[in-house]
């Protein structure tokens, strides 16, 4: 102890030097927006690479369950193929027609960082602007909606999780009711809430909740979850609905980023009339 004090006393000027430089650097990075942006973009590239390596290792441990999920998805997709259908009417012929345009395509991505412990959760993906990812694109897991891209660098992107109190989405309940808002109250990470659904709609436990095409971020009929509880709110004008999330938010790994080929067309057309989204 005596030696330590002696050491500090004799080298006091070095400690003072380091402290003053520390304060200056902190001030430089904290209060100068240019230095801050350089610092954070550099550190996010470095962190992104480290997180990718970490995820590469972690992925080995979940290969089995990932494989299972992909198999289930494959089965679902296979059943949609035309070879599974028989023509019941002899006069319909399938032709490749030109009156349909591809609206949504999918960019596969891996989740390299995910957090669900906070009230505003984000996850990081290993695809960025170089892969065509843009701010505002929707993100789905094989099981259902997962989030929305909020920030993009060259090689990585950050998505606002479904488990984020600022996330908002219009739901479709039971394939019919397209009304209300899906939000998260920050409590249970397996449940999201639907608000503002008037009580004259018929809502039952077990009804499927899917996306609508309203925000242009997701194609319609992507699963969000199933209704777990539905109660009339106090005053009895609206439903209080809890939805069990279909996607496994704590184990997000393989996801798809949704690219809407008409996004810019929609937004230029709508920006004059519609706020937000």
């Amino acid at each position: 102890m005596q030696n330590l004090l002696q050491f500090i006393r004799t080298n006091f000027h070095i400690f003072l030097f380091l402290i003053l430089q520390g304060i200056s650097l902190f001030a430089l990075i904290r209060f100068n927006s240019y230095h801050q942006s350089v610092f954070f973009s550099t550190s996010s590239t470095v962190n992104g690479n480290i997180l990718t390596q970490r995820k590469n290792i972690i992925n080995y441990f979940s290969l089995k369950s990932e494989n299972q999920k992909l198999k289930e998805e494959n089965i679902l997709l296979r059943t949609r193929g035309t070879e599974n259908y028989i023509f019941v009417s002899k006069d319909t012929v399938a032709v490749k027609d030109s009156n349909q345009l591809l609206q949504y395509s999918y960019i596969p991505a891996k989740v390299i960082y995910n957090n669900i412990r906070k009230e505003k959760n984000y996850f990081t993906l290993d695809r960025g602007a170089n892969a065509g990812v843009k701010k505002g694109m929707g993100v789905i897991s094989p099981l259902g909606v997962a989030g929305k891209i909020v920030d993009v660098s060259d090689h990585f992107s950050v998505a606002m999780s479904l488990l984020n109190s600022e996330f908002i989405l219009t739901p479709k309940i039971n394939g019919k009711i397209r009304y209300g808002n899906v939000t998260w109250n920050g409590k249970d990470e397996s449940l999201v809430q639907i608000t503002n659904v008037s009580d004259h709609y018929e809502v039952k436990v077990g009804h499927e909740v899917t996306t609508t095409e309203f925000g242009h971020y997701f194609p319609s009929n992507i699963k969000i979850g199933n209704i777990k509880t539905a109660t009339k709110s106090e005053g009895g004008k609206y439903w209080d609905i809890d939805v069990e999330i279909a996607a496994n938010m704590s184990q997000l790994s393989e996801v798809y980023i949704i690219k809407n080929h008409f996004q810019s067309e929609f937004s230029t057309l709508e920006e004059k009339y519609i706020d937000g989204n």
Binding site: L16, S24, L25, A27, L28, R30, N32
Partner: protein
């Protein structure tokens, strides 16, 4: 140094700081010229000044200039760094006996040639650290180097001019 000298130092400090932040910082000569005259105060401090006092003075001066140019941390980091290098220089490359005399480097107190070289080196070092820190990356290297060159040259000229006139006054007083 006696109290009288310290008072004089503080007063001249305020004058030079005022010239720096009120005049020079607003000159806009061209895009490469941002001379930092105030480092004259740092490099003419007594050569045997205690390290911790030197660091605190450097930090305070840098902080003062920063607060007028809205660049917190930039000047203070550079000033403290230069103070550190100044001590490295004095502790290793200068005669110990001369160091204990505690003179303030100037045209009259030391050899003129040595003084010009001393001002030149530390002004160049200061502007190098400052502009690399300001740019914060190695892109636009050319314009950073031009800034260092032009600003240092002008600053060296101004500092020598200032010390020259200032010294003449002191010699007249005594």
């Amino acid at each position: 140094m006696e109290t009288r000298d310290w008072v004089r130092l503080v007063l001249s400090g305020f004058v030079i700081l005022a010239i720096q932040v009120l005049v020079i910082n607003n000159l806009n000569l061209n895009q490469y010229m941002f001379p930092q005259l105030y480092i004259l105060l740092l490099i003419t401090l007594p050569i045997n000044l205690k390290h911790w006092v030197g660091y605190l003075i450097a930090f305070a001066l840098g902080f003062a200039v920063d607060s007028f140019s809205y660049t917190p941390g930039l000047q203070s980091f550079t000033a403290v760094s230069v103070m550190f290098l100044r001590y490295v220089y004095f502790n290793n490359l200068v005669d110990k006996e001369w160091l204990s005399t505690g003179v303030r480097p100037s045209f009259t107190s030391v050899d003129s040639g040595w003084f010009v070289a001393y001002v030149g080196i530390f002004t160049l070092v200061f502007h190098t650290i400052l502009f690399f820190l300001e740019n914060f990356s190695f892109t636009h290297l050319g314009s950073t180097l031009l800034k260092i060159l032009y600003s240092s040259s002008l600053a060296i000229f101004l500092i020598l001019l200032f010390t020259f006139t200032f010294n003449r006054e002191t010699t007249n007083d005594s």
